[in-house]
Amino acid sequence: MNRDDELRLHAYLDGELGATEAVDFERRLAEDAELRKGLVELRAIGERIRNQARYHEAPSHLRTRILARTRRAEPRRRERFVLWPALAGIAAATVVLAAWFGPALIQQAVGWQPPLQEVLDAHLRANLGTHWVDVVSSDRHTVKPWLSAHLGFSPNVPDLSEQGFTLIGGRLDVLDAKPVAALVYQRRQHMISVFVWPGEPAVASPSAQRRGYHMIGWGANGLTYWAVSDLNENELRDFARLLSSAT
């Protein structure tokens, strides 16, 4: 088969021949057995590629990450995240980690109500069940009133997107049989839970760390805040500082 015929064969199969050209080519196909054989082979390989070549699915956090960057410099409005699939991977990793925790944290949490173990468990539970937020919004003016309407206290929910912490939303949680607020932020692929309940902490700036999870607490305006994440400690400290100084 000459080169022109070969290219025409591809163009014919790809629907790239004009109507008159296609008619001419079909006439030639009827007469030329070699051309027909070429067509059958080409059709087979084409189908094979389309059926068997892998369509690489984008990791679900990629979209979130891109949106976090493109939205960073802009004022916030209501936005919607497709969040659940993004967390499946984190959840899988957490199953392993959760098994390791045991009661060790309770010892460090002496004197605290609720126990730090419960705070950490709540973060892990959100990971496992992929139930991060009841109110999905990156708009702090949506999250804050929703939480205060459900809880009777009003946590500070600042917009930290310019500093690279994307607000994902908020949810209600229960620690030691008491309802608390949970704010959820994201930094790259790391989720950050911030648990908030009434009453100042007994110690000024408590913190704890176990197996890759960092926990940092502080008090503000009669509320206790605890940030929990697998983010590295420095960045979580930055986050805690930003959140506690924002109004």
Partner: protein, 179 residues
């Protein structure tokens, strides 16, 4: 969010999946593909005013293509030296110890994917754009910055090479069945 941000989320974000698949095939690596797509997305935000009346998906894929090529030039220049149409890629050899037909079928798909991966990037991109993204010759020519005639010859060549590797795979499968 400003008007540009809204346009970005309406026009570009829906095609991030296609952008990733394309970048993944070109970089052959999940992590690098993510970096490239993120960079390309930021570029597309800057160039968004230039998108007028054309389709967003091929437009974005064009940006992904250029971003990837720049990235390859900076990070893996050796891969681009085989960019001309005349280099012969290695055709993946099938394994000799797959015992069952289902394993052969799985192996077929795997080897086809390896054969596409083994194509030079200039051939790989036209195959992915044509067969996985179903784009026209004209669109592929614009994305890759090459004449339509070159799209046609590269596509023909890529399919010929893949057809050959499929035959190698089938021959191996036949040998299995005759045992």
């Amino acid at each position: 969010m400003d008007a540009r941000g809204r346009r970005f989320e309406q026009l570009v974000v829906p095609h991030l999946g296609a952008a990733f698949n394309f970048a993944r095939w070109l970089t052959r690596n999940d992590h690098d593909a993510q970096d490239v797509v993120q960079e390309a997305a930021l570029r597309s935000l800057r160039f968004l005013d230039g998108l007028r009346g054309e389709e967003a998906r091929p437009w974005l894929l064009g940006i992904v293509r250029n971003t990837t090529w720049t990235w390859l030039q900076a990070n893996r220049p050796a891969e681009l030296t085989s960019r001309d149409d005349d280099s012969e890629p290695q055709i993946a050899a099938p394994p000799s110890d797959e015992p069952e037909t289902s394993a052969i079928r799985r192996a077929e798909a795997r080897l086809l994917n390896e054969a596409i991966t083994a194509l030079p990037p200039a051939l790989r991109e036209v195959i992915v754009l044509r067969e996985l993204e179903d784009l026209s010759y004209q669109q592929i020519a614009q994305i890759a910055g090459i004449p339509i005639g070159t799209v046609m010859s590269r596509l023909a060549r890529a399919r010929r090479l893949l057809s050959q590797s499929v035959k190698v795979i089938e021959a191996a499968a036949d040998r299995q069945e005759m045992r």
